[in-house]
Symmetry: C2
Subunit: 273 residues, 2 copies
């Protein structure tokens, strides 16, 4: 999916919401567990009831990998089921030397047909560039993450000024453009979002951590919006596990409607519709 289509979808749906499909077989409703592919059935229910409210789905690959080859088949079917006009982000945090990253690109872009892949930056340019050779696909580089451990290294001060996360964003933005690179910026990091927005004014940010992890939508938007919206806000557990019974998909829909309404207000207040 290219940038223009993504922006168009955001304006059309008045939403920049992404639902994280962190589907754990131990947390899905009882009535689905006897199905042949409970993970896919669960996701199908969520997608059916939320697809008009969201611009992206983000399957977290760890949850599928933990079930072996069968889990990867659930991932494949889930991505196939998602409508074409919705961005599919494979949250896989891959990154390796060039010939290996090329294999990961084949895996997620050619085989599973995701539109975007999250990538860890520690190994540098040649670990990212193979993904950028695919037209209309996106690399989403870990910038500043939402977890406690982000303090360990991302916040280290560098000898020539600034923090490591700032340098990572600055240098890696030169690997591609705002048309094929986004950044992961945790919603719990609102103090830093405006700083990151200065380094990469045009790039989209994928912002996890709203909901279960405690991030605040208003704060994120105040510091992160740009002229093309520039934000995709992800919520996983607080949406997909909003209900635990047969009505789980309706509960997820209610939660999405709530967030979509807040987003519509924010877009309108900022003259972005």
């Amino acid at each position: 999916m290219n940038r223009a289509t993504l922006i168009q979808q955001i304006r059309h749906k008045r939403s920049f919401l992404c639902v994280g499909l962190d589907t754990d077989v131990n947390k899905i409703p009882e009535h689905l567990r006897s199905k042949e592919d409970p993970i896919f059935e669960f996701n199908k229910g969520i997608i059916d009831r939320t697809k008009d409210l969201v611009v992206a789905y983000k399957p977290n690959t760890a949850f599928y990998e933990s079930r072996g080859p069968q889990g990867m088949e659930s991932l494949r079917k889930t991505i196939e089921y998602i409508p074409d006009d919705i961005l599919v982000i494979a949250d896989a945090k891959r990154g390796d030397i060039g010939n290996t990253s090329r294999m990961y690109a084949q895996s997620f872009f050619d085989y599973y047909k995701a539109d975007a892949l999250t990538v860890a930056p520690y190994m540098g340019s040649d670990s990212v560039s193979p993904f950028l050779e695919y037209p209309y696909k996106w690399v989403i580089i870990l910038g500043l993450t939402s977890n406690g451990g982000s303090m360990d290294f991302q916040q280290l001060s560098l000898a020539d000024g600034g923090k490591l996360y700032e340098k990572v964003i600055e240098i890696s933005s030169s690997y591609g453009t705002a048309d094929n690179i986004m950044y992961v910026v945790g919603a719990t990091q609102t103090d830093y979002i405006s700083q990151i927005r200065k380094i990469v004014p045009d790039h989209f940010f994928l912002v996890p951590g709203v909901g279960a992890q405690g991030g605040n939508l208003q704060n994120v938007c105040q510091h992160g919006l740009n002229q093309d919206v520039g934000l995709i806000i992800n919520s996983s557990r607080s949406i997909i596990y909003a209900g635990s019974g047969e009505n789980y998909a309706d509960a997820a829909r209610s939660k999405c409607m709530e967030l979509q309404a807040q987003m519509e207000t924010i877009l309108s207040e900022n003259n972005l519709l």
Copy 2:
């Protein structure tokens, strides 16, 4: 596998060689391609003919993932086929927030039954600690990698002195012990290996890059050996693709024998047998 067993295996086999199973279906001999599971058949041949010469196998998960669920089944069968007294390193370079890393740990330790997993450090302690909860399993953290892009971030100078890779190794070594953490240290980085050995005198290093990537065994050993050997040297392409015909496994064996003989000499010269 615990540390004592690993050291015992090294002394017994007079080898600290790891063979990287970066098995690419487009590079395996013609006669295997019509088999039901060509990747597994290829690996089986390599394992049968090299298992007495190596202490570890390192399947690079990207090569399996790129073939979808079927590829993951080849990975599962490959790991199952490897004898129990040989360390299995899943080279997956994972790392995410705590609840996701926990899923990756389930995947690689419980499901695929690898002994060790390579992990990317950018997200910090909570991205590594879930893996350390498994007794007798290993986390192998990216320290200083062998690729060109390692210059982008790993070599950045920090405000309080030292380079990022040194700080990563120093801080992350406190997450666990030399009994459950190793470091990836590229064989092309011989200038830095002695420096890293000073920071973590007791830890094992997994050293990729000998062979196709140009690293030199003698140099690596000169700077990296410790009293328990402390090195696992990986070679992938130069071993598994040493031959391209029906005798590919014999060619791989010859290449391994060559390296094992060099290693035996080095161990003997350093009174490590």
